[in-house]
């Protein structure tokens, strides 16, 4: 266990071989490598096995399908990553996805598509900001408190979505106004890639730079690492909390828009299960729930694994119920491993 503890540092270098026990060190190095790239190895295994068992997996149609499926969860999980690095959690993404989807789609007709897009993104920011204000004003400092608050807010946002849409589903084909913007987001192509994939790449690049290269990104990490110490060193942790929730709300709105654009339909329950899938992807990717440590790149691997797994299980006709059980088991396993690393 002590070996694991030694390797949890921020940017800690791989252990150097010193002295006569170098061979042992290299073995330890292999273990560290395996731990570090466990997700990649699992992805490779999953792809390899499924490709052999079910050749349909490698069909162009299925690969395109996977690429499309990745988008929305990717966006939400990228936002969630910062909340978790900051030592908090956001269960309200489900409600935000619901609310943003029904509001945005309903505004295409009266406001026009560009305005609708901006209102949708703004609504995500408002939802995230509201979460942050509630957390700060209630003096919540622990992840558990944030968990309950954002769970409550998820219910509120979902209920608002139901009230707003009167529980009905809206479709693109019911609208006479131009919706080419959303159709492009949903199914357009840019060279060999789909537009949603390009949006994802842009978001990833920006968020990675934010995480690694900006002072605010560092503040978020410090807040997640040790709130008290960060505050006493003059870090504005309140601002970090606002930033992480707004970022998560915004990315959730992006995810929501990509999602309903792809399926050309928005129901007020469209976001069902997003919070667990996003947290699952972040944690499986290797970002610790304890805060301070993690990366958007890890989350990308986590989302890949989660999405590929659903796809593979679908292809080999595993029942949905069993799929949920498998997902749950993986989440528990990931948290269990995470806790063991810290102990």
């Amino acid at each position: 266990m002590i070996k694991a503890e030694m390797n949890t540092g921020l940017g800690a270098p791989a252990s150097k071989a010193i002295g006569p026990d170098a061979p042992r060190r290299s073995l330890q190095g292999v273990v560290t490598f395996l731990k570090e790239y466990l997700v990649l190895i699992m992805i490779a295994l999953l792809v390899g096995i499924t490709a052999v068992v079910e050749p349909k997996f490698m069909d162009a149609a299925n690969l395109i399908n996977i690429e499309r499926q990745l988008g929305p969860l990717m966006m939400v999980s990228l936002g969630m990553t910062f909340v978790i690095i900051g030592g908090f959690i956001d269960l309200s993404v489900t409600g935000t996805v619901n609310l943003v989807a029904v509001v945005t789609i309903s505004l295409i007709q009266p406001l026009g598509q560009v305005s609708a897009l901006f209102v949708g993104l703004g609504l995500g920011i408002v939802c995230g900001g509201l979460n942050a204000v509630l957390i700060l004003s209630s003096g919540a400092v622990t992840q558990a408190e944030a968990l309950f608050l954002t769970f409550g807010m998820s219910t509120v946002y979902s209920a608002l979505a139901l009230l707003y849409s009167h529980g009905s589903t809206m479709h693109f084909w019911d609208m006479s106004a131009s919706k080419t913007l959303f159709e492009t987001i949903g199914s357009g192509k840019l060279g060999p890639f789909s537009v949603s994939f390009v949006i994802f790449l842009v978001c990833l690049a920006l968020l990675w730079a934010f995480q690694e290269k900006t002072v605010e990104g560092r503040f978020i990490r410090l807040t997640g690492g040790n709130k008290t110490a960060a505050r006493l060193a003059g870090v504005n942790i309140a601002r970090s909390i606002v930033v992480i929730y707004i970022l998560c709300g915004f990315m959730t709105a992006v995810g929501s828009i990509v999602l309903f654009s792809r399926i050309t339909t928005a129901a007020p329950t469209i976001g069902l299960g997003f919070e667990t899938n996003a947290i699952l992807a972040v944690v499986v990717g290797g970002t610790t729930l304890l805060g301070g440590k993690g990366s958007v790149l890890r989350t990308v691997m986590g989302v890949l694994l989660v999405t590929l797994m659903s796809n593979c299980l679908d292809l080999i006709n595993v029942s949905t119920y069993l799929q949920v059980a498998v997902k749950g088991a993986i989440l528990v396993l990931a948290i269990w491993l995470d806790n063991r690393k810290q102990a």
Binding site: I2, E5, M6, N7, T8, G9, L10, G11, A12, P13, S15, K16, I18, G19, P20, D21, R24, K213, T214, V215, E216, G217, R218, F219, R221, L222, G225, N226, T228, A229, A230, R231, L232, A233, G234, V235, N236, G292, K293
Partner: protein
């Protein structure tokens, strides 16, 4: 050293242990004889805890042999080593608070004791054998620290231990409790049980131990009968050089008023007003809980305040949060290094630079080269011992961790540095270095507010002392002229004194 006879209970030979970047133990050899009290001293980070954890089976050694009671010890677990008669009593006692004394002694072994009746009867017997009259049905949460220690000792005896390792047993004992502990150690010795006694408090080590081993940097420097050591020799061996004094001469450069605090009130504090001068070290003396920490936390904006005025250099400043305090030129080294000061899993570099982000931020972007430079400069200036600035600060010893926090603030050249228990849990050598830093800060015109539970430390380092009792300032004394007794009685609220 090589006398391997039946009278040697524990023989450690050429034991080595490395962690990434640190050689914690390097060919350590030592023999412990039956029925002796063997003292183990050394600075933090010298390797004492690592050695003990290897003995108890928490860590596995890289090389060397350990022979306990004539048998070679391989791949042991903490439970096995306990069974074989080697018990460790850790500084933070490992008892279940919500269970009774008897239950704790035989935790997990009730069946072997033939039920609870047998458990309590046997526990009584063991407690009586060390002259301890705690009722076995009492809850551990109701016991004092020293009584808990008795329970730990009884637990060790219940395993028929032949060797008991005591790690800093006296750190939270009062004077009388210490005498009790001394008695028990004598009794255990009389029963032929060996004790390894680890302590920072040299007076006790000289009183209790028959033999002393000194550790430094992962080596055993020397093992000799206690009578062959002098106190100064022991300290010199621990730190690797001679220290003439435990404290540097106090800086004498008090100038004009720098910081004025007026009518500071909080839930616990009542009308605190004081002045701090350029180049002054101001000590706050009081019992734990008297309000010393509360004063500096309120001043630094870490806690809510009911209205007060702070003037720096004749200008009024508003401090509502730590950020304001930092802007106003204050620095704060909190009392709990690990919980309040450091982000333990983060790098040394990140921990040093975390307050100085303005210096390496360019339109919100981190300029890595400048940040590296800051860390390198402070590591060099404060002589922080670390393999690189990229290792987690957790891997450093207590003294070096503390230096990282000091460096964090020195980078900002604060006008007032608040140091709450700056030398708690760090070793003699690092303490002296911290004192020297304080002296330098004062001599450059900075001012320091010092809080310490070690009275000699405050008295030797401060130019002026405020005594605090129940949230009020009781007196103001000059340690150069006032006696320690005077200061203590003022801090105990017995007399109102002014200098």
């Amino acid at each position: 050293m090589d006398a391997v006879g039946s009278d040697v209970i524990l023989s450690i030979k050429d034991v080595s242990k490395s962690f990434p970047g640190v050689r914690a133990l390097d060919n350590v050899s030592v023999d412990v004889r039956r029925g002796t009290v063997h003292g183990l001293v050394g600075e933090n980070g010298a390797g004492k805890s690592t050695l003990m954890k290897i003995l108890s089976g928490v860590y596995e050694r890289d090389a060397g042999t350990v022979t306990f009671d004539g048998q070679s010890v391989e791949h042991t677990t903490p439970h096995q080593s306990m069974q074989s008669g080697l018990a460790i009593i850790y500084q933070e006692l490992n008892l279940v608070n919500k269970m009774s004394v008897g239950e704790n002694i035989f935790l997990g072994r009730f069946r072997e004791m033939k039920g609870m009746r047998g458990t309590h009867a046997k526990a009584r017997e063991i407690l009586d054998s060390i002259g301890c009259d705690i009722p076995t049905t009492k809850l551990v949460s109701e016991l004092s620290v020293s009584q808990k220690q008795m329970v730990e000792i009884a637990k060790a005896l219940s395993f028929k231990s032949k060797l008991i390792i005591m790690d800093e047993p006296s750190s939270s004992l009062t004077g009388e409790e210490l005498i009790e502990l001394a008695k028990i150690i004598q009794q255990l010795k009389g029963q032929g049980i060996s004790i390894i006694y680890i302590s920072h408090k040299l007076a006790e080590v000289f009183d209790f131990c028959d033999v002393i081993s000194v550790m430094r940097d992962g080596h055993i420097i020397d093992t000799k009968p206690t009578g062959d050591f002098t106190r100064n020799e022991l300290i010199a061996m621990m730190v690797g050089r001679t220290i003439e004094n435990e404290y540097p001469p106090r800086p004498q450069c008090v100038g004009a008023p720098l910081l004025e605090v007026k009518h500071l009130n909080t839930r616990k504090l009542h009308d605190i007003s004081f002045t701090l001068h350029y180049g002054e070290i101001l000590g706050l003396v009081g019992l734990v809980g008297a309000g010393r920490t509360e004063i500096v936390r309120a001043l630094f904006g870490a806690d809510k305040v009911r209205g007060h005025e702070v003037w720096i250099d004749g200008k009024k400043v508003k401090i509502r949060k730590p950020r304001d305090a930092k802007e106003a030129g204050l620095g704060f080294i909190p009392e709990d290094r690990k919980l309040q000061g450091l982000v333990l899993p983060f790098s040394v570099e990140c921990n040093i630079t975390m307050a100085a982000f303005r210096k390496f931020s360019w339109f919100g972007l981190i300029r890595k080269s400048i940040e590296k430079g800051i860390a390198a400069r402070q590591v060099a200036a404060l002589n922080v011992k670390t393999p690189s600035t990229r290792v987690p600060v957790r891997n450093l010893s207590g003294g070096n961790q503390q230096k990282c926090i000091v460096g964090r603030w020195l980078e900002l050249s604060p006008r007032v540095l608040i140091m709450d228990e700056p030398t708690r849990g760090i070793d003699v050598g690092a303490k002296y270095e911290i004192y020297m830093l304080m002296k330098q800060i004062a001599e450059r015109g900075g001012a320091i507010i010092l809080i310490s539970s070690e009275l000699p430390e405050v008295l030797s380092m401060s130019n002026r002392v405020l005594t605090i009792f129940e949230g009020r300032i009781m007196g103001e004394l000059l340690p150069e002229t006032a006696s320690a007794d005077e200061i203590m009685s003022s801090a105990l609220g017995m007399a109102q004194v002014t200098a």
